[in-house]
């Protein structure tokens, strides 16, 4: 007769492929990156903090960090501003809402690279956006630059990453108890007051929690700024340039930036989560 509840050993055996993959494809590479970041360039021995000092001491390096953070934050704010009205509209199950829900998922399933290519073509100096402006908006006689500019990059980020926030916002809104709103109306509040003082405060924690996903995706964005960033290079692109442009590649310098990026992501994320939690508690 077999033991109906096998012990810890069997559980660990089941977990071993996952743990092996985790160790071999994540933990060890990460450790290697950390070690490499403290090695002198191109050497297998010796220790130095020079790469960190060089990057953090350089005004350009600090600018890159600020750019990455600013882009992620701007994209997150933009996503929230877009997602809340959009979800409020979609909540009412208008005619065709299924189709619009599907459309929202498109930027998530399509490769970021393709999205960026299309955005560059659409918003570029000869794209439809500028053709429209030149044709229909008086006072504009030359193309408005969007592609390869900072505001353009924010726009592209929002396009690509707002679905994370929007999907969460929608699910929070739909789990909201409608009777609370009715109570507000019975108590004499106008529809806008119900929205402002009942609905928005109730969904705020959920929306902010969902926006974390957008923030994370935007902070780690690589393919989009790589082809659509122009001179604006966030951390991920900066890392890639270190190993792809110079010969021989600057692996140690790249590793140092990669470690910084990982640490910053964890720090930003925990700070963000703490802020979200505090905002959520304060009603």
């Amino acid at each position: 007769m077999r033991d109906p509840s096998p012990g810890l050993g069997a559980t660990l055996a089941l977990l071993s492929p996952a743990l092996l993959a985790f160790a071999g494809l994540f933990l060890y590479p990460l450790a290697l990156t950390v070690v490499l970041s403290f090695r002198p360039e191109g050497k297998e021995a010796g220790w130095t903090v020079g790469h960190y000092v060089a990057f953090l001491g350089d005004p350009d390096g600090r600018r890159v960090i600020l750019l990455t953070f600013g882009l992620a934050l701007a994209a997150t704010c933009g996503s929230v501003l877009l997602s809340v009205p959009l979800s409020l509209v979609l909540r009412d199950k208008l005619w065709g809402h299924r189709f619009f829900r599907l459309v929202l998922l498109v930027p998530l399933v399509v490769p970021g690279l393709i999205g960026a290519l299309g955005l560059l073509l659409f918003w570029g100096p000869r794209g439809w956006f500028n053709l429209f402006l030149l044709r229909f908006v008086p006072g504009i006689d030359r193309p408005v630059p969007v592609s390869y500019t900072l505001h353009g990059l924010v726009l592209f980020y929002v396009w690509l990453y707002f679905p994370y926030t929007c999907v969460t916002t929608l699910s929070v809104l739909e789990s909201l108890d409608r009777s609370v709103e009715e109570a507000g109306e019975v108590a004499g509040a106008s529809r806008w007051q119900v929205l402002r003082y009942v609905v928005l405060p109730l969904i705020k924690p959920g929306v902010l929690a969902g926006s974390v996903l957008t923030f994370m995706a935007a902070f780690g964005a690589f393919s989009v700024p790589l082809i659509a960033g122009g001179d604006y290079r966030p951390l991920a692109v900066e890392i890639y340039k270190r190993i792809s442009v110079p010969i021989p590649a600057h692996w140690s310098a790249a590793s140092a930036i990669a470690v910084l990026m990982g640490v910053l992501q964890v720090v930003f994320l925990s700070a963000y989560m703490r802020t979200v939690r505090r905002l959520g508690r304060r009603r």
């Binding site: 996952a18 490499l36 509209v89 599907l102």
Partner: protein
């Protein structure tokens, strides 16, 4: 005055709502429309709204010069390998997480999901170094293994939920009827969780199909995948050919989105048989 204004705004909410929905749809769709037009357009320069001539020339170029046939084959092989490896890992780990007692389960789970929390370029550097040393760079297996780093956490997450939703009584019934645990797993549990496994496989495949960062650091001349090919084409600056490649690449993604939407409602993802 403002009250009347607010009232009017509220009364027009349906119109405003549709305006918002339609403009967002247009903004999401327009880039793809532009790509599609660009891929079949000829002589589309200057201030023209639409291409003056249509051609399939760019697709021929994409296949002949861009080698899209071989690239597609690479992408499929790598995707299938990644699905195979990740699903194997995910089935075992998901069973452990979903069906068994494990001290510190939450912690182990959080640990295994860590690769999704940290930007992949941070460990992609290390993966590339290791694969260079092991001569795994520019092999299908190597690129697929790199993809497993990000795909496996997803499969583990989805399959844990799937197995957790499996009804204990069904398995007990199998045991009562004399099935060994292995038989119960393969003959009873597996068919029941098949929709969940299928969903996770589709998900993994899409992920591998679209994966760019890890591929870029581990690919070689023999393992160029579609995203990398598109990136290289963007660098070459031929927008028409790049667009043709993009169309060839994006169509499967959209088909997969349709399939996911139709085949796997969330409730089917977790369990898939409850109440049946």
């Amino acid at each position: 005055m403002t009250r009347a204004y607010a009232r009017a705004l509220w009364d027009a909410r349906l119109l405003l709502g549709y305006t918002l929905l339609v403009s967002v749809t247009l903004l999401i769709g327009a880039p793809f429309l532009v790509i599609a037009l660009r891929s079949v357009g000829k002589g589309w320069f200057g201030r023209l709204w639409l291409p003056p001539q249509l051609t399939l020339e760019w697709y021929r170029w994409a296949v002949e010069v861009g080698n899209v046939g071989e690239v597609l084959r690479n992408t499929l092989i790598i995707g299938l390998l990644a699905v195979l490896l990740s699903t194997t890992i995910g089935v075992f780990a998901g069973w452990a997480f979903g069906r068994r007692r494990l001290p510190g389960k939450e912690l182990v789970m959080a640990l295994l999901l860590l690769p999704l929390m940290i930007p992949s370029i941070t460990y992609a550097l290390g993966v590339a170094r290791i694969f260079y040393a092991l001569r795994l760079v520019d092999t299908h297996l190597g690129v697929a293994l790199a993809h497993v780093a990000v795909c496996a956490p997803y499969t583990i997450m989805v399959l844990s939920a799937t197995f957790e939703g499996l009804d204990e009584r069904v398995l007990e019934a199998a045991a009562v009827c004399g099935a060994s645990p292995l038989q119960a797993f393969f003959r009873v549990a597996l068919p029941l969780v098949a929709p969940g496994i299928l969903a996770s496989m589709i998900f993994t495949f899409t992920h591998s199909y679209n994966e760019f960062t890890l591929t870029l650091l581990t690919y070689g001349p023999h393992t160029v995948t579609l995203p990398v090919r598109t990136y290289l084409a963007v660098g070459d600056g031929y927008w028409e050919i790049t667009s043709a490649m993009a169309v060839l690449m994006v169509v499967p993604s959209l088909v997969i989105l349709g399939v996911i939407q139709r085949r796997t409602q969330p409730e089917r993802l977790v369990g898939g048989f409850k109440g049946a």
